[in-house]
């Protein structure tokens, strides 16, 4: 199937995969034996091709096969560095969760098949129109859970922060940048394109799930000080933002607000491609840091901007984009999603829905604020000030091939922001195709420079003009700085209350940076502290240690009880299988007897 929707996702896959593969040439140098490297390249190739197959499959069977290949190959990639002890654990959590998701998908597809009697998309589409509403509701829920597991919707996100960081970095970049997006493709393709939205609460459910996903994802990201896990949690958040667009679009589709539905979906897809680009970039940068410094723990990093200037600049670009700072790409897509909420609230008749959309907008704004804080922390602690360990001090800039991979993605992040008017033009076509609306008359851009989400209400945004303003003013200020009354600049030590002995140990740490948030969100994070003092004498403390952790709420109160339940059920089942051959012969005998007795009945 090669309609605009599939082509868009193919483009996303290519945009992230190609730079990641260029990057991998340098990244893998000196890491594995040649045979393992060959294996890794082979697996990566299958992985990328399977994703391409997922988004182009034109019937359910092909889709499922591609989906399963993608899941299995990505599992092998997660456990590829099996010498790390966390790999096995991450792999197990990943494969179990992803198969629970696939089970729900299969159930949904079987339900659909009951009515369509065919696996072909072109046959399903008309058949879905005649499905009774309760069957459609069930299919919707199954699809949402099934794809939601892959996308990382809270509380199904549990595998994501384990699995994504564990793979080699260019794979993390493809997984976070693209693989979780195939789940969004599934949601759009099956729910919006094939089934069509026929209940008002579908959109509301998706929006609610998206809000929770955004906020939970970013709060956990703020608490994290493993660089790659922070990025993985932030992927959870960004999937939430993408789904905010998709969910709003579902709501508007049901209410027959067609232009708004196209706007919301286009905004969501815009954020999707943006996230693919900047999260791919950030994972590659994190990989460079890991390769250069040998650790992903931010508390051991710092000062890398001096030894790794290129990586730092690229990471800064990604961080600015993900924190939605103008004029980069994240800003445009978040602005568009906010506008679609606002305009939706204006055009929907129901007061409750208006209010709900306002809450969605506020939640998105809150997420944006927290994301800015999170990436100030990620960049500031990792790259600025003094190194916090010897490894960080001895880090060296990465080779050219890695820098090229990162550079291409950084340039894309800038271009996707500045070229907003063109991007939105293309996305309107994609969104129109996905939501089955004739979008040829819909346009959200003026003069190729300005984005204008609604004709007539005079709301404009032009990243190019903003960038022009910023650059012009900055140039003016720089001239002013250097021309007006030339004064000296003295290089001296950081002011430290007169001691002048600032070392890496005096610096603010990642844990300290996120402490206000930990206190403010303690109702959800349940942080606990442990201080240990070893006394030398009554007055003197010889050593002092302080630990703080947050309670993983979903694991502790949802998955652990569930797991215990499964294990106790398995324990019961085990009793009929005690390992005695006599008993097994007895079972066979009994079965034969029962069959003979029942034979006459059939």
């Amino acid at each position: 199937m090669f309609d605009p929707l599939s082509l868009f996702f193919l483009a996303v896959i290519a945009l992230v995969s190609v730079p990641s593969l260029v990057y991998s040439a340098g990244y893998l140098k000196g890491q594995f034996t040649p045979r393992r490297k060959t294996l890794l390249h082979g697996l990566t190739a299958i992985f990328i091709l399977s994703m391409a197959a997922v988004v182009t499959a034109a019937d359910i069977i092909a889709f499922l096969i591609a989906w399963e290949i993608m899941s299995l190959v990505s599992f092998f990639l997660v456990v590829f560095e099996h010498e790390h002890e966390q790999s096995a654990q991450a792999g197990v959590i990943y494969i179990v969760m992803t198969h629970i998701g696939t089970a729900f998908l299969i159930a949904a597809f079987m339900l659909i098949h009951q009515y369509s009697h065919s696996f072909d998309f072109s046959a399903i589409r008309p058949a879905c129109a005649s499905m009774p509403q309760n069957a459609r509701d069930l299919v919707f829920i199954f699809l949402l859970i099934g794809f939601g597991t892959k996308a990382g919707i809270v509380p199904l996100h549990i595998w994501l922060p384990y699995a994504h960081p564990q793979a080699p970095s260019h794979i993390s970049s493809i997984m976070s940048g693209v693989m979780i997006k195939t789940a969004v493709y599934g949601i759009i393709r099956f729910i919006m394109y094939l089934m069509g939205v026929t209940a008002w609460w579908w959109g509301v459910v998706v929006l609610t799930a998206a809000i929770v996903t955004c906020l939970v994802g970013i709060i956990y990201a703020l608490m994290e000080h493993d660089l790659k896990r922070l990025l993985a949690y932030s992927s959870v958040e960004n999937i939430g933002i993408v789904l905010l667009g998709a969910g709003a679009s579902m709501l508007f589709l049901f209410l027959k607000l067609e232009i708004l539905a196209v706007l919301a979906l286009a905004a969501g897809l815009y954020h999707l491609i943006n996230h693919a680009v900047f999260k791919g970039l950030l994972f590659l940068c994190a990989g460079s840091v890991y390769k250069a410094a040998g650790t992903r723990n931010m508390e051991k990093l710092g000062g890398l901007i001096r030894t790794m200037p290129w990586t730092a600049a690229f990471f800064l670009c990604g961080a600015m984009a993900i924190a939605a700072l103008p004029p980069l790409n994240g800003f445009v897509s978040e602005w568009l999603i906010l506008q679609s909420f606002f305009l939706g609230a204006l055009n929907i008749a129901s007061g409750g829905m208006k209010f709900f959309l306002g809450i969605c907008a506020a939640a998105l704004a809150f997420t944006g604020g927290l994301a800015a804080a999170c990436f100030v922390k990620a960049f500031g602690i990792t790259f600025l000030a003094l190194p916090r360990s010897r490894q960080a001090q001895e880090a060296r800039e990465v080779p050219v091939s890695m820098r090229m991979g990162m550079g291409v993605l950084a340039a894309l992040a800038v271009l996707l922001g500045l070229g907003a008017a063109w991007v939105i033009k293309a996305l309107v076509v994609v969104a129109g195709c996905a939501s089955r609306i004739d979008s040829s008359a819909i346009s959200f851009s003026l003069n190729n420079l300005i984005v204008s989400p609604a004709q007539g209400n005079q709301t404009f945004l032009s990243p190019v003009l903003i960038a022009f303003g910023l650059v012009t003013f900055a140039a003016g200020i720089a001239v002013l700085y250097s021309v007006v009354r030339r004064r000296g600049v003295r290089i001296f030590k950081t002011w430290d209350c007169g001691y002048y002995r600032v070392t890496g140990r005096n610096e603010y740490t990642a844990t300290a940076f996120s402490n206000p948030f930990r206190v403010a969100f303690s109702f959800f994070l349940f942080p606990y502290h442990r201080t240990r003092k070893i006394w030398e004498s009554f007055y003197h403390v010889r050593s002092f240690s302080y630990e703080t952790h947050t309670t993983p709420v979903f694991k502790k109160y949802f998955y652990d009880p569930l797991l215990r339940l499964v294990f106790s059920a398995a324990g019961l089942m085990r009793r009929i299988q005690p390992g005695s051959i006599h008993l097994y012969i007895g079972y066979i005998f009994l079965t034969v007897v029962v069959l003979i007795i029942l034979m006459g009945k059939f």
Partner: protein, 306 residues
Amino acid sequence: MKVFALFIQFILLCSAAPLVSGIIARVKNNLRMRRGAPVLQPYYNIVKLFSKDEVVSDTTSWIFRIAPVVVLSSSLTALALVPAVISGNGANLAGDFLAIIFIFALGRFFLALAGLDAGSSFGGMGSSREMFISSLAEPCVFMAVFSLFLRSGSTNPEFINAVNYPHVATVLAVFCLMMVILAETSRLPVDNQETHLELTMVHEAMILEYSGRSLAFIEIGSYIKQMIWFSLLAHILFPASVAVSSGLARLGVSAVFFIVKILCIGAFVALLEVVIAKMRLFRVVDYFGFAIVFGILAAISSLIGV
């Protein structure tokens, strides 16, 4: 003519921005029965900073050097989007109310990074707190803008202004925005511009390492930011801007109105700062809780049409 008028307005707003802070400081001092520094003191400070050498820490990187430029240029860019005396502003093709908030985030982001760059704990503390406070303020602003939007149908600041007033919703939204503005311009009860006490400072801790011209740029950036917030607020409460074509007399009246509005807001802020005390950092959560309640109430009253 129009471009020229806009240019003049832009220059005047820039140059008047420090004056607002000077007047607020003067009013505060007079309310405390002190004589206080002259209202032009902010200008003297800027001139003084420009004529001084600059000290840069040897642990810093280029982030520290470009942050003042980014802060000031983002403030100036945002200022270009704000209608003050003249409406029909061509610059609103570049962005709306939401874009202004996003542009502020750009300056704040770099300032917070610069705070971390010097490596002392003060800077880190300041940037951590600044990001904490601003992230809590964000949903409040959007809730308030949302409630204004429901009536005006556009996030273009001029359209928000064009709504005839005063509705309950507008007043509640202004309450919400006022609380946010106090935090954004680092004033009491969230922050205190007048002190350099380690335990309480937020904005000042972040820029502690700056001196000379760089500090002057950051200061000018914050004056302009304050000017932007005040003029946005002034227009939401009492819309009065006019088109350039409507004659010099109308323009003059509009200008006088604008100055009076800004002065009123400044005096109100000064009065508030004199009568309330600084809050503990973690009380800020409750503070913004109040703000968002105002925002939600504004949205609800906007929905029921009062």
